[in-house]
Homo-oligomer: 474 residues x 2
Amino acid sequence: MDQLGELAALVGAANVITGDDAQGYLTDWRGRYSGSALAVVRPGSTQEVADVVKWCGRHQVPIVPQGGNTSLCGAATPDDSGHALVLSLGRLNSVREVDTDNDTMVVEAGCILQTVQQTARDVDRLFPLSLAAEGSCTIGGNLACNAGGTQVLRYGNARDLVLGLEVVTAQGEIWHGLRGLRKDNTGYDLRDLFIGSEGTLGIITAATLKLFPLPVAQCTALVGLQSVEAAVSLLSIARKGFGPALTGFELIAGNCLHLVTHHFPQQRMPFDGPSAALPWYALLELSDSESADHARERFETVVGDAIEAEVVVDAVIAENISQSKALWHLRESIPLAEKEQGKSIKHDVSVPVSSMADFVRTTNEAIQSRFPGLEHVIFGHLGDGNLHYNIARGTAFSEDDLLGQQEAIYDIVHRSVHHYHGSISAEHGVGQLKRDLLDQFKDPVEMKLMRLLKQTLDPHGIMNPGKVVISEAG
Amino acid sequence: MDQLGELAALVGAANVITGDDAQGYLTDWRGRYSGSALAVVRPGSTQEVADVVKWCGRHQVPIVPQGGNTSLCGAATPDDSGHALVLSLGRLNSVREVDTDNDTMVVEAGCILQTVQQTARDVDRLFPLSLAAEGSCTIGGNLACNAGGTQVLRYGNARDLVLGLEVVTAQGEIWHGLRGLRKDNTGYDLRDLFIGSEGTLGIITAATLKLFPLPVAQCTALVGLQSVEAAVSLLSIARKGFGPALTGFELIAGNCLHLVTHHFPQQRMPFDGPSAALPWYALLELSDSESADHARERFETVVGDAIEAEVVVDAVIAENISQSKALWHLRESIPLAEKEQGKSIKHDVSVPVSSMADFVRTTNEAIQSRFPGLEHVIFGHLGDGNLHYNIARGTAFSEDDLLGQQEAIYDIVHRSVHHYHGSISAEHGVGQLKRDLLDQFKDPVEMKLMRLLKQTLDPHGIMNPGKVVISEAG
């Protein structure tokens, strides 16, 4: 039997995909990375995943695990050798268990994030992970890259939402670790080792997720600010005044909002006059366990104090759900408006919140001193110290000129991030995109330990090779 | 130069302790474990820790890291061979940095937990880790064993309170990982691998901790319940009604409260009549970002609804801080009252909250069917599924009879925990006490991976040997 025949015997012929039908799995969704593969296999159970991994071990065939194929760093795309197998988790998409008394659910890796959110909502619970790709990304991919998103301030990153895992190791063994326990100190934390490893140490096939009470009401406010310093002060005030009810704190540069209202004129700036022309804005979200009125009252008290203290210049507090949605829609439309404007050079970085103002100021200066006239398009999750610090061509550069300077711009921004003890990949991961930057910016002992772990858990280098870190074995 | 002379050259002669002065380091605080050692060394800096570890590597001398020596499972006590060095972190006790804008602080491993809490409070912040030994345990030990405590429901275990680490590896290299970032996806999560590894993979020398806003007010209520099922229903109601303001939910069996009021008559049962004789109670704590009045009003609303729904029989809501403290004091006095009553057989276990009622019922039945008349002393952190399920001699057994059955009782309880997919060590760790139970109760693939990690990161087996897991090398 040939190789494809052997695979078909493991997962069924219909689930071994080659030729044109495989194309959608071989290019990432933004069209930045593409590769080729021996085949795409779609196992239908954890045991079939294990069987395929064992087969790959025997034949030294590299495996590229893939969920919704929405990686922003090429983590789920094979190289162009054509030797690898793309292992799609799409058919492992059952919700295995929902336990409301324990506030947990067990889901398989191929479940779409939106399905997971909805399943929780159906039993009056919240699964808080929320990000732009939620309609197509899978929970397995979210865990593999430790996804972030807009609710991290309150609920943490993807890893913080997981109690247990089921994993197929590089040896094709199954670790049955689907525990639903909030306290378990019986040994090393393997769970967090696999979460965030981008499929390079093993394949997550299912997870026990934490659920939370669904807030009774949510309310949103947009405030105008004179500076990033003022935004940092406001964050402190808001954390004190709202406690854990503060579930969102997004920083938005003024030009981002103007970009949105320019390209999508049905959306409107909620301020008039000088308040519509401020350099910075912040979007705050409260999740309340009492009522919408209570949330609004809390906003009025705390934001009112911040206006009196001259931290906030002006504020719009949503009167109802549709106004809250309209404010969020402004924030969520920034990437789309950016795209309308043309290509830009994007960064997903984090720095300590206390360094945020200095980081923005000195990085802007460094960009302008080398490339006068480029435009800064800055927005992000200030509460997590996470900025999407993007550079657009402005009026002084052509798109080609801008893209020609991509490496130089990356370098300016990453060096600045490093100077402020930040991270060059806050929430998107490493994949292929940033793999070769890690040695430059990470502690050498940490890199040595990472290579040692890769070498130990995947000694033949078959798990998503070329992503995150290259061990000595390759 | 002899070995002690070489060590004195590394850390100073005054910090190499032998003979009688070393005794306090060689026996655990409960007097359950004792051992002997070549010496106790007290390095004064991370570099000195690294120097000592390198020296130990060259001479194949095992190292037992020790913080406040408050382990409940013998994790910080050497064996009796006399070959090991006890490495006390007590002199590494600086607070290196407090960053209020970033809500973080950097502390060295030897800082006493209470000092860490107080340092946070001094800048109007909360460091929420809280447990009985806080006056003498160190943050390094808390992280090494991933301590739990009373605030886990809201703030998580020790690992959830850490952003970055500084670690001396088994090779005596220093990993500089003191990041203060809430989002960082640049590789494998080494932080969580060292946290909870009980010093068997490396030595944590410093940590970047998360700080939280100090609540404006806290309020406590004690409620009477007919059953564990009712307590689980109330937890669900309280999580919905209070959201993240619910910072404590302790389950207490009625006999525990009577034990306290019997041995400490200055403490009083806050109920009269039939409400004072209920089988179960729960202690709830709210942390409010508005006011004490608001917290009390919320209690009245939500607990009032629970009384109307016949989930709660009766309730006492503290009128002021001193009443809140008195209610907590009842809960905190249970272990002391237990001790007054005589020796007991203790378990630190967790099960899914949804299995809690069945676990208690069937385990009680199993104990009574084998040993009629033993007394169950049950209390714990219901919100985390964590019970201290203890067995006292009651009136039918002598203390010696009880202790003679210790292994049989452990076995009944642990098998029951396993049946309900629970953990035999919820928050105290493994140490020496539970090491040999792991193979019986944990997934074999997980045990294989744990041994592989131990073997990889500590190939010569010098890091706290005999604790948690034995690798093939020993």
